[in-house]
């Protein structure tokens, strides 16, 4: 009992030291909070797939009542903004090439006549395919507007779709993108903090001083991991609050489950970070390694692109990526209100990564010596 207390007291001393080291400097203190706030605001406002503004050009050779009605419903819809009214087909290339317009709508001269005689009246839409996702979305929008025109003309389509999006009724990409940031944004900081923690001590010579004390590698590991985890989870909380209250995205699931997930995820991140730190001999190396792995971790996480669209080999690789499961867990708990039964499987890879990387880091403390 006395031994166990002494053992814990040694760790407590290390943890106290780590926190003091982290929070002593006002500039590094700010560094722990400001990036998390800024990045979540940036993502919230900047990163969106929602089509709210489509500049387009029109070549109206029909100039009839029907074409005017069609253009009025486009211009009045709030999404399309007419940036050019063209006189001939040769001008189309110029507006698309320059990027002034995302699409050009060409209404043929016989549009009015064909409609009047009850024949098909094709419209031509030229899209800027350099940005395929936006172009496809814009085309779908135009199709919807044209469909509405058809309905108004009394040509109801035979089959109709009645859309109900669950978990995100207006299909706002912000809803899809932001909750996973609770894991993703704080991971960058957790990785960097833990990667620098041992590397900094090695570079400044304090790690030797630490190794000659009676602290065991396990104690050093716990003493290094807990403060970084705390910082990571505090950052997650900050981002969580911004998403919940500033952006008003409703949280459906259990807060406890969310935090249990975040704790496992942060543990895995700290394991990776400390392993990097134990391998690196200088802070510069640690920083480089971290940036090297952050990009693939982000790409293979399903944060921006769905994992099932990736080639099979990459899909397998994502199992080693804690962020994949962190993103999945947070997104599902937050948006769908998934319970432990539904997201329980996400914990397995997270804890596996932690169980591999943390002992590796502890072993490296003593065995990676210059």
């Amino acid at each position: 009992m006395q031994d166990a207390l002494a053992w814990l007291a040694q760790i407590a001393a290390l943890i106290r030291k780590e926190f003091r080291d982290l929070f002593k400097d006002p500039s590094s203190r700010a560094l722990l909070l400001v990036p998390a706030i800024l990045q979540s605001l940036l993502f919230g406002y900047g990163a969106t797939y929602d089509l709210t503004h489509v500049p387009y050009a029109v070549l109206d050779q029909s100039r009839g009542a029907a074409s005017t009605r069609l253009l009025a419903s486009l211009d009045g819809g709030g999404v399309f903004t007419r940036v050019a009214t063209l006189d001939n087909a040769r001008q189309i290339a110029a507006v698309i090439d320059s990027g002034d317009a995302l699409l050009a709508l060409a209404i043929p001269a016989d549009f009015e006549a064909r409609l009047a005689t009850g024949r098909d009246a094709p419209l031509q839409v030229i899209l800027d395919g350099r940005n395929s996702a936006t172009a496809a979305a814009a085309a779908a929008q135009i199709a919807a507007v044209v469909g509405a025109v058809n309905v108004a003309r009394g040509h109801a389509p035979l089959v109709t779709i009645d859309r109900r999006a669950w978990f995100n009724p207006n299909l706002e990409s912000r809803w899809n993108l932001m909750p996973p940031l609770i894991a993703a944004l704080s991971m960058i900081q957790t990785l960097l903090l833990s990667a620098l923690s041992v590397a900094r001590e090695r570079e400044q010579g304090t790690f030797d001083q630490l190794l000659v004390t009676p602290l065991t590698p396990l104690q050093i590991l716990i003493g290094k991991a807990l403060p970084t985890m705390t910082v990571g989870i505090l950052q997650s909380t900050l981002i969580f609050l911004i998403i919940l209250f500033w952006f008003g995205i409703p949280m459906v699931g259990s807060v406890w489950l969310l935090y249990l997930g975040l704790a496992s995820f942060t543990l895995a991140s700290v394991g990776i970070g400390l392993s990097i730190s134990a391998v690196a001999l200088t802070m510069q190396q640690a920083m480089l390694y971290t940036f090297l792995i952050v990009m693939p971790l982000m790409l293979l996480s399903g944060l921006l692109t769905p994992i099932r669209n990736m080639p099979q080999v990459l899909q397998w690789l994502t199992y080693a990526n804690p962020l994949r499961f962190g993103v999945d867990l947070v997104r599902r708990v937050y948006l769908e209100g998934a319970g432990l039964a539904e997201v329980g499987a996400d914990f397995v890879p997270l804890l596996c990564v932690a169980a591999l990387t943390l002992p590796l880091a502890a072993w490296l403390f003593r065995h990676r010596l210059s």
């Binding site: 030291k17 010579g205 065991t216």
Partner: protein, 587 residues
């Protein structure tokens, strides 16, 4: 136009002190430096030497007064001065991944040295520094001494009119130090270069034409070494301790009587001391405690110590007397009844195909002060790190307090204390926070921790709230010692503990060590200051990984040959050169 290289009048410069308020680094200082001469700035840490050099180099603007360098007002036109001088800071910025040649090229490019001048200049610099063989080697792979020589060569890629050197020989072994000074002296004699050098080594200052002794931002005295030495004429003596008493014990007793003794150092089996000019004869006899005493010639260090003690009234660096719990007597190394506390047999360490330590064996007895000496790159630090369990040995056995610390359970490590070569405590944290952390890591807590921390703060006269990274060098060293001793270890490892600290702080440091040894703590110490070998019971000299000699300071001096006299520095150089000659003859 005075013709002087540097003229300073009423110069001032203050810095913001860490805890608010201001710190006067240079305080109404006036001095004149003559051209074509070697000029030394000496003084304790924080005397303002570096600040003065940086102002002369136009890197800091004076807070007041006048400063003229090479006839130009440096405050008004620093660039004009910088075009004509070269400045080598304490930590010269070598690019460690670039080769020796690439470093030279880079600095030649930075200083826009014309291509046609480079060839002859480089050839001369490489010849002077004896580095022509190593041009392809990355700077990071050079030994400390060679790095410093390369730094000097890079500083000299163009021919300056004035060369400023800030403590160029800190952390450099006696052989490299001798080479470095040969280069500087050659430049002064052949090229008529003016050189201003700051140094903590009085033997270096003694080679200069003019010496300025600084303290608290002022000049205490200026003059030729001879003129300065005249101040202690008739005050210098050598005392021979009675048989069985180590000179350091007598020395510690003498230093405890500052009202009669200005300074005392162990030297060649005796204690060299300087007495106070108005020393009370009875009190002096008491301090000597029956040791026979005879007059000796005076040195610059004697004069320096007298000047500082007079200026500071002896209070400045006085360390509280360490409590001597047991009578101070070193264990005789040949005593068969005592088993060694450290034993090393056939220790080998290789890095790839490079052998850093070759088949080394030695033993250290409890309560001994054991010195590991050797040039830069000799394998001292490698041996040291293996002993502390920080580096695995390639071959051989080593035992510290009966165990190999590398594989021993954590508790075994609680018996040793470790003070690293460079300051390696948390610079961000305060003195108290550092002590509390390491105390906690050593398993102290609650009242025991508080008591120990308080005792350490008192004993080493440390300000608990000061930020550790901002302490002056001497105080950093004290904090490192305080940390290493917090848990009352049986064995204390000290890796070049006195590197870069001034003579006053070194005296204080060795008094602490003498006290610890008296209390039965075993001390393993590496050092570049050969005179510090005199404090050791036994010393070992390593070079190129080989153990050259091991024994008492007297035995080592004897081995070097009687012609080397009582000077440890000369004995060291003699032994290393002898071994190198034998090795080269064998190849």
């Amino acid at each position: 136009m005075t013709g002087a290289t540097v003229v300073a009048e009423g110069l001032q410069r203050s810095f913001e002190a860490p805890g608010g308020g201001s710190l006067r680094a240079i305080d109404t200082l006036s001095l004149t430096v003559r051209p074509g001469e070697l000029t030394a700035l000496v003084g304790p840490d924080g005397a303002g030497k570096t600040t003065l050099l940086r102002m002369i180099a136009g890197l800091l603007t004076p807070g007041g007064g006048r400063l003229e360098v090479l006839g130009t007002d440096v405050t008004r036109d620093p660039q004009r001065v910088q075009d004509r001088i070269s400045y080598m800071p304490q930590r010269f910025g070598l690019y460690e991944d670039l080769s020796v040649q690439e470093n030279l090229d880079l600095y030649a490019d930075l200083h826009r040295v014309p291509q046609d001048e480079r060839g002859p200049r480089f050839t001369r610099l490489l010849k002077m520094t004896d580095m022509a063989r190593f041009t392809a080697r990355p700077a990071g792979k050079l030994s400390g001494g060679m790095k410093q020589k390369l730094g000097l060569a890079c500083t000299l890629v163009r021919a300056p009119e004035l060369l400023l050197l800030d403590e160029p020989s800190v952390g450099v072994d006696p052989l490299s130090r001798r080479d470095l000074w040969a280069i500087v002296q050659q430049l002064v004699e052949d090229d008529g270069l003016s050189v201003i050098v700051s140094t903590a080594y009085m033997d270096e200052a003694a080679r200069c034409a003019q010496v300025h002794v600084m303290n608290h931002g002022r000049i205490l005295a200026s003059g030729t070494p001879k003129a300065l030495c005249a101040r202690v004429q008739g005050l210098t003596f050598a005392a021979v301790p009675p048989a069985g008493v180590h000179p350091r014990v007598l020395q510690a007793r003498m230093l405890a009587a500052p009202e009669v003794i200005v300074d005392a150092t162990p030297h060649g089996g005796a204690v060299h001391y300087v007495r106070q000019p108005q020393a009370d004869a009875a009190r002096l006899a008491e301090a000597l405690d029956g040791a026979a005493s005879a007059p000796r010639g005076e040195g610059l260090e004697d004069a320096f110590m007298l000047l500082l003690r007079q200026h500071d009234n002896g209070t400045h660096h006085a360390l509280p007397e360490p409590d001597e719990r047991t009578p101070a007597s070193a264990v005789a190394p040949d005593n068969p009844n005592v088993s060694p506390i450290i034993s090393v047999r056939n220790l080998v360490r290789r890095f790839g195909d490079f052998t850093a330590v070759a088949s080394t064996s030695f033993e250290v007895l409890p309560g001994e002060i054991f010195g590991l000496l050797g040039p830069n790159g000799a394998g001292k630090t490698t041996t040291f790190r293996m002993l502390c369990g920080l580096l695995p040995a390639t071959e051989g056995q080593l035992e510290v307090a009966g165990r190999d610390l590398r594989t021993a359970r954590a508790r075994a490590r609680a018996r040793i204390g470790y003070v690293a070569q460079k300051f390696s405590l948390y610079g961000n944290l305060s003195v108290r926070e550092n002590l509390e952390f390491f105390g906690g890591a050593y398993g102290l807590r609650g009242r025991a921790l508080r008591t120990q921390v308080r005792a350490a703060l008192e004993r080493f006269d440390l300000d608990p709230t000061a930020r550790s990274g901002e302490l002056p060098a001497g105080y950093k060293q004290r904090l490192a010692m305080a940390t290493g001793l917090l848990h009352a270890p049986q064995i204390l490892f000290l890796d070049e503990p006195t590197s870069g600290i001034d003579p006053l702080a070194r005296r204080a440091f060795w008094r602490t060590i003498t006290g610890l040894a008296g209390a039965g703590v075993t001390i393993i110490v590496t050092t570049h200051f050969m005179e510090e070998a005199e404090y050791c019971d036994r010393i070992a000299i390593q070079d190129a990984g080989e153990m050259l000699v091991i024994g008492t300071p007297q035995q080592v001096r004897d081995k070097a040959g009687a012609d080397r006299g009582t000077d440890m520095n000369a004995a060291f150089i003699g032994i290393v050169e002898q071994a190198r000659a034998t090795r080269e003859a064998a190849v």
